[in-house]
């Protein structure tokens, strides 16, 4: 099926969005995706980990509005982790490209066209959003958060030489086959998962391009970065040093 679509010269983009208690955000994100991707063939795959707040009901209402072929709800019974959420969503993806993004509006769908454009221009296997170049940026971070972020970045750049400026960003576009290949070799969970994905892809020699994105920290709900994340990050860094 993938080959057939590529022969026709027509790309389809499967946007995988993992959710947990994002009933308002998912509706807003879906609206914004449809607003900004007008002439593109795409589907949205919502992987909901059994949110108790009624996220799935809202997604069903969105299916009524936009069509069940455009929005796919592929729930799981409970919280099973981010990495497996992508694997789960990937199983149901019918596009030849896959976009992964967060539901919490820190990733604005208005950047989707620039991801797609960059991929078409360069033929890259992965296009990753970066907050740390001109045109990108972050809003809503205090000094401590910025300091942590810069420190983490300098450490990673010094020790891993990853070839990308933003390792932990998770707004990315992948060729479906590349995502399937890379994700199968990734073992990290949670925060380090995104870093391991891009480092492994880089080591395997995949062509990676970057586009600037802005990152507005969670509008609704609270951010999830604490001391344990820093420890996890350092562990992840050491793990990647010896395994990649």
């Amino acid at each position: 099926m993938e080959e057939k679509e590529q022969k026709k010269g027509k790309n389809k983009y499967s946007i995988i969005i993992p959710t947990y208690n994002e009933r308002l955000n998912i509706a807003l994100v879906v609206y914004l995706i449809f607003k900004h991707l007008r002439d593109v063939d795409f589907e949205i795959i919502v992987v909901d980990d059994g949110s108790p707040d009624g996220t799935q009901e809202v997604v069903k209402q969105l299916q009524q509005l936009y069509g069940e072929d455009r929005i796919l709800l592929r729930p799981r019974p409970r919280k099973l982790g981010l990495g497996t959420a992508y694997v789960h969503g990937l199983k149901h993806a019918s596009g030849n490209f896959v976009v992964i993004m967060d539901a919490d509006l820190s990733h604005h769908p208005k950047y989707l066209p620039s991801f797609i454009k960059k991929q078409l221009e360069t033929g890259a296997s992965i296009v990753t959003g970066t907050r740390y170049v001109k045109g990108g940026g972050v809003h809503g971070w205090n000094l401590m958060r910025k300091l942590t972020s810069r420190g983490a970045n300098v450490l990673a750049q010094t020790f891993l030489w990853p070839g990308v400026s933003d390792l932990t960003g998770s707004f990315r576009l992948y060729k479906k086959s590349v995502l399937e290949d890379v994700i199968s070799s990734v073992v990290s969970k949670g925060y380090v998962f995104q870093m391991e994905m891009i480092v492994r892809a880089s080591r395997e020699g995949y062509h990676i391009e970057e586009v600037p994105i802005t990152f507005v920290d969670r509008v609704f709900g609270s951010s999830k970065l604490g001391g344990s994340e820093i420890v996890e990050y350092l562990k992840g860094l050491a793990y990647l040093l010896v395994t990649t």
Partner: protein, 89 residues
């Protein structure tokens, strides 16, 4: 090659050079003995400098937060009209 091996190779090359210097005694030995300390200190300085520069030039985007609020308001109006429940969070 695992990445840690690349880094170790570089470290071994640097130490080999240092031992060479010690043996050849081109520069006085007391100076050569201090070189590893200089190396570590300058590495630390480099790290701190990079973090400092990164902090000072940290790209921020306050206007994006305002634009996002507009988008959210627009989305809410549309979704409410079309029967999607966006009432309470």
């Amino acid at each position: 090659m695992k990445h840690v091996l690349k880094i170790l190779t570089i470290l071994v090359a640097i130490s080999a050079f240092w031992i060479g210097l010690l043996q050849a005694s081109i520069v006085p030995r007391s100076h050569t003995w201090l070189l590893p300390i200089y190396f570590i200190v300058s590495l630390g300085c480099y790290g701190l400098l990079m973090v400092g520069v990164g902090l000072m030039r940290f790209p921020t985007c306050p206007q994006e937060a305002l634009l996002l609020q507009k988008d959210i308001a627009e989305a809410k109006v549309f979704l409410k009209q079309n029967g999607v429940d966006v009432g309470s969070d």
